[in-house]
Amino acid sequence: MATARGKSLLGRFGVHLAVLVFVIIWTIPTLGILVSSLRDKDQIIASGWWNSFSSSTQTEAGRLPAPESQVEKDGKFVIEGNIFGDAPAREVSAFGLRSAAPTQYAVGETADLGDGVTLQVNADGSFVLASPVAFEGTRGQRIYFASSAPPRFTTENYETVLFSEGIGRSFINSLTVTVPATIIPIMIAAFAAYALAWMRFPGRALIIATIIGLLVVPLQMTLIPLLQLYNGVALFFGVPSKTYLGIWLAHTGFGLPFAIYLLRSYMAGLPKELMESARIDGASDFEIFLKIVLPLSFPVLASFAIFQFLWVWNDLLVAMVFLKTDASELVLTAKLNALLGSRGGDWEILTTSAFVTILVPLAVFFSLQRYFVRGLLAGSVKGG
């Protein structure tokens, strides 16, 4: 008995440990870009984000002031100052005079530059360059130094991406695409689902079968003809081929089979007596739909809304085909994709932009998780 309990204790500890490992693996990637997006942009490339709470060491190059600032002191010509100039001082650990050996001398040490010229750099960045003869020329001495900066966290990256990199604009564009592309299909699907569930008309069974059949159509099948169609319509009417209206309708089309399928099966399950008594009271189908069916269908409408909202917000393919690639219509996902190409190594831009793009889905996720899970359970059959 004792051994069995020991085993289960060990087993239970193992379960906790295993889950912890999974949680860490699954959260670390997102944590990485969150932390990086808040770091100083020079520190991002100087050290890994997991070291962001310790000082980062970086090697820099600079130039000492030009000979014109020299003063004569005790028979020597001296240039004094701080290698950081007016910028905030950091702690210098070593310096050097050649790029091949940027940390040749420790701070406080006196470097010999030949011909009696000496250079001393202190930890606070102050330096003394001294020479027995006057310095000549117009350019200052080249210097390399390693400095460590205390960890610095900032929201500058967010200001940069939102206001000068165009992420703010793309954020608005994403909303302009996503909000109508969520509401329009809900309305159209809700009316259609009600008709298919509760109204009698010829061809109803055929329409239901067709809609279920359309669930299987992959998005890729529709892109080329729709692109052609849009170009044709644009040419014929002399309007632009890539418009917000175009992408709303496209997203509506791709979301409709799933929406109708989902809403119809829910509405068909509502109690029949409700509709019949309302009809006896003289209510038209339009009134029954608005006043009885729609309020009762709220949970399923919410599930679909969240599902569709996230789907449209996170979509790249449809946006790349049906929207312009200039600032006026570039949505967040497409903008992020463009930044990956143009700002490939600028991690302060990329991590911050990525975090801005996932902010809305994360907010939706945390606030409406219950509906999200339900939509997901139902959404496993979505074709798009």
Binding site: A189, R200, F254, T351, F365
Partner: protein
């Protein structure tokens, strides 16, 4: 900025308002033309009957119109285009299909897609199942599940940036800012440019999809696990079964149907995966897949619609049987 927000709001109002105006207006119009109130006798009966004939079509009309334009017509047209040349003008028979199977890049895509199909659904389902079982046993399981589920809300592009940062490469001996190379260097290895290693880069891209989709598998399987009757497990415990036997012999067989649905759902997703490959490698270094190849041909050199359509048809053929099976299964589980 303010002007942009304002114009965005106007655009949204026009879009949503238009849809509302249609449904409200069309129904009001019907009531006006064939009034059922305020008239008596045969007129009221006739008008009600006419309303009953027309109203369903007002309700379902927009949906039908959009479905025809955005799904039915394109499917037929894509099939048509796949037998035609790049501009869709001249009939070329099966030339596009024979081109595809002779094309090196296409065959590479097929190979990679098979690789993805072999790894991703299995990995997601397995990891999702293990996590679902483990988290059911501990008090902070709900929090753990939320955190593992979270990547599902992130777009493929966002996830690609997240993982590109992890795979970031700096030369040997330099400070690594990519987590993977930092670990490799810490262990004494030399850093690699992970996403340009032919063949192996496929797996580094797959990790992204597995990271996203495991949460999906976990949530659905977790719901299924909770549906297993307690007695079957208790009986097994009394019979002296160990945890592994309980898992494999008692639990897994009872949720087999759900496992299959999760597996096939992820399989369909894998066949259509596009964003991850586009943003990580754009098919370079032998990492091309069908969906990205199709997108590529849509625009490559001004666009070759014949070849693009052909690749779309091939994706459709691959997805179709799994999708049909999946919908049937879902209908069976839903009890419809």
């Amino acid at each position: 900025m303010a002007a942009q927000i304002f114009s965005a709001i106007i655009t949204i109002i026009i879009g949503v308002g238009g849809a509302i105006a249609y449904f409200w207006g069309a129904n009001k119009l019907l009531d006006l033309i064939f009034p059922s109130r305020g008239v008596t006798g045969m007129a009221a009966v006739n008008n009600l009957r006419r309303q009953g004939l027309i109203r369903p079509w007002l309700f379902i009309g927009p949906a039908l119109l959009i479905l025809v334009v955005y799904l039915i017509y394109p499917v037929i047209q894509t099939l048509y285009l796949s037998f035609h040349d790049r501009a869709g003008e001249n009939f070329v028979g099966l030339a596009n299909y024979s081109w595809a199977f002779g094309d090196r890049e296409f065959r590479n895509s097929i190979f990679n897609n098979i690789l993805w199909l072999a790894v991703v659904p299995a990995a997601c389902t397995f990891l999702g199942l293990v996590i679902a079982v483990l988290t059911d046993k501990i008090w902070w399981g709900t929090i753990a599940k939320s955190l593992i589920f979270l990547p599902l809300a992130i777009s493929f592009v966002g996830a690609s940036v997240i993982w590109k940062f992890i795979y970031e490469y700096r030369g040997d001996g330099q400070v690594q800012i990519g987590l993977l190379n930092a670990i490799v260097q810490w262990l004494g290895g030399s850093p690699q440019v992970w996403i340009s290693l032919p063949f192996w880069n496929n797996f580094f891209l797959m990790v992204i999809l597995i990271w996203i989709q495991t949460g999906f598998a976990m949530v659905i399987l977790s719901a299924a696990l909770r549906g297993i009757p307690e007695e079957t497990i208790e009986a097994a415990v009394i019979d002296g079964a160990n945890p592994f036997q309980i898992f494999w012999r008692i639990m897994v067989p009872q949720i087999w149907g759900t496992i299959a649905v999760v597996w096939t759902t992820i399989t369909i997703l894998v066949l259509k995966v596009f964003d991850i490959v586009l943003t990580m490698t754009n098919g370079q270094w032998n990492s091309q897949v069908l969906a990205n190849l199709m997108f590529d041909w849509m625009f490559r050199g001004g666009g070759d619609f014949g070849r693009g359509a052909t690749i779309a048809i091939i994706i459709m053929i691959a997805v179709l049987p799994i999708m049909i099976w999946n919908i049937r299964q879902a209908n069976k589980e839903g009890g419809h």
